[in-house]
Symmetry: C2
Subunit: 405 residues, 2 copies
């Protein structure tokens, strides 16, 4: 597997995209994108578990029943959430307009929205926007679409890799938007992955769901789950590889590439957390089960006290041990080792659940860097998990405490 | 039931207490307290669910098996947590010293500690401190003990009520300490309640556990559960009332007084949250079940986004609806109404899951006050629950981001 720099989703065969300004964002920045697979693609997706779901989520849940998906239309600037029946109607209009412009069935279109909630979409801007975006679809439009899905993100998030399956080169590429808190509302995570791999819908679904557990589900910026969160993958088979499900080695190669793409996008989202000054990776090793490891890693990376300590470059092992202890997972706390590590060095601060007489000076040096890895060795079992997040800063409070208007 | 102002735990018959400076706190403030029931008392308690438990928690879990508890010894300034076998030994020495000074069995003593973690107790200060505190026990020592259990709390937390059971006056009084984050570690909640009611251990246990669910378990300052959290009640029967369990009306009267004491102490803890500028009450009405209501209320009061919005006096209904939606509870989000209310007025902002065209000006006036009530009417069922918390402020980040040393 290799990472392809300066490639975008539209460098994957059979996919075209566009990103335009429909006028939804006051700033005039790009706010509407369309992704189109020139041949029907199989699709897998995970949607928000929030009971307060935005209108497009309901539409997508319905259209995911289709055998193939051929297009995704996304707008930023308005989340079409908490908008009642009118919002549902507008989501269906977005799908229908896209389908009409592309001459495909409306059931093969997914819709995503991100932005302000509780406000109806301005369809007088959306409809011409969709037509324009469909008109501008091209194999160089990937970067434009990556820009069009952003809200308060400080940069585009994109990654492309190539692997080999049965002698054929297969690409997987993705774009994402992250944890920009937008007035008046919450972070929405959107991730759109495309691949030209030949893979069955069932196998894609299985691999994608598993991959999401160790990537997007392992990041935490503020612990709140949005009404609009969505991660989608389209596979159009144009690479001409033998079906991924045919051999274990094909699955291994595809999985490796897919996991890499999802984890890199997830990390980009965590790094771009609102007001964040530091990127924090929490590695939990040797848990009783994979799920125990995930729960503990998320508990630590989500703790306000740990996040504030990282902001202050404070080797506050006690808060970490505490977050391990209150995680809803099996764990023998008396065996836990904790270290801080990065390019500067490594400092172990806890051994067997008891603090060591560690070098505060060395720990401080490590924690003053903008990338910090907290390694928690549970010594309980054989499973590892990693979570990613950021520090809790004055800016987080400022950004999220500011009045919406 | 009436509230008795200017009364303390030692104004309840049969209880004496003291609070002294043993030299554990560098500031020279009081840091060691003893509570003593002159007759053996039945006891109920809830302890932290954190798997990383401090040494005194293990001792208390053991001694709670005793039929009677007669004394509680508490130190602040050092949590005796993450201290291994030496910490366990020291907790047992604290109980034994107290028992010897009071001439009672060491199994009838509970021990609590709060403060810095990962550091061994200075027993050269603790032992003479216990002897001094036992020597100074008096029926006017309640306030001193309330002071001795504090860490970074800005004020003592105490409440006393009187009710009538079978024609006899019965008092319930409590002291607590809250969410002061202390270097290097986390908030510990301690609550000690005394009553002269005549009540069986089993009945006391049942009523206390239920009361804790709607009081201490419904407050959130930063979502982290400490290694040392403990709530205890002692009942010594000196009021001479007929047993509370004898009649439903007795139980009702006792429960009302007990719930009041626990809720008031819980609210005092939430109000004194570190760096807090606002006290937030979240009332969830008409949930499917009591537990659904509790989970949703806690979800909202714990949301960083809601807390930051309250700090900014922002009527950000979307974040509230979102926190309702991601709570792990049953709820039909399409029926939810949300209002902000306090002495200034009331402003409904959401009806049936959709935002109203509300007065931003009026909402802002309400939210600029230091007491805010968020009322969430689920219109799903018949159960209500209330949670308490505080806003997320620059000072929270400053206090918790500061280096320990």
């Amino acid at each position: 597997m290799k990472v392809l720099l300066n490639e975008f989703i539209t460098d994957v065969s059979g996919f075209v995209a566009s990103g335009i300004s429909a006028g939804l964002k006051k700033s005039g920045k790009k706010d509407l994108g369309v992704l189109y697979s020139t041949t029907p693609a199989v699709c897998a997706a995970t949607m928000t578990t929030n009971k307060s779901k935005a209108a497009p989520i309901y539409l997508c849940m319905e259209n995911m029943e289709s055998d193939y998906i051929q297009a995704i239309v996304v707008n930023s600037g308005n989340a079409n959430a908490c908008t009642g029946q009118e919002g549902m109607d507008n989501a269906y209009i977005m799908a229908a307009e896209t389908a009409a412009s592309l001459n495909i069935s409306k059931e093969s279109v997914l819709v995503a929205s991100t932005g302000v909630i509780g406000v109806q979409l301005d369809m007088d801007k959306i409809i011409p926007g969709i037509r324009k975006a469909c008109h501008e679809l091209s194999d160089s439009g990937g970067k434009n679409m990556a820009q069009a899905i952003l809200t308060t993100d400080t940069s585009i998030k994109t990654i492309t890799v190539e692997t080999s399956i049965g002698g054929r080169k297969v690409k997987i590429s993705g774009i994402a938007k992250g944890s920009g808190m937008i007035h008046p509302n919450m972070a929405t995570m959107l991730s759109f992955i495309v691949t030209n791999a030949n893979i069955s819908k069932a196998h894609l679904n299985e691999l994608f769901k598993e991959s999401v557990k160790d990537s997007y589900n392992m990041i935490s910026v503020d612990g709140d789950t949005s009404t609009n969160d969505m991660a989608v993958i389209l596979a159009n088979g144009t690479a001409g590889n033998p079906p991924v499900e045919e051999r274990k080695e094909y699955t291994r190669a595809f999985r490796e590439a897919l996991d890499y793409v999802n984890k890199e996008l997830a990390k980009m989202i965590a790094k771009d957390g609102e007001g964040a000054t530091k990127f924090i990776e929490v590695s939990v090793n040797n848990a009783y089960t994979k799920e125990d490891g995930r729960i503990i890693a998320r508990s630590v990376v989500s703790s306000n006290l740990v996040k504030a300590a990282m902001f202050g470059s404070d080797a506050n092992w006690g808060r970490i041990l505490c977050a391990v202890g209150y995680a809803n997972a099996e764990c023998d706390i008396s065996k836990v080792d904790i270290s801080f590590t990065n390019g500067i060095g490594t400092e172990q601060v806890v051994k067997n659940g008891i603090p060591l007489d560690f070098s505060e000076e060395n720990a401080k040096k490590i924690l003053c860097e903008s990338n910090i890895r907290i390694v928690i060795d549970l010594k309980n079992g054989d499973y590892n998990a990693t979570a990613w997040g950021c520090d809790l800063t004055y800016d987080y409070v400022r950004i999220n405490g500011e009045y919406r208007s």
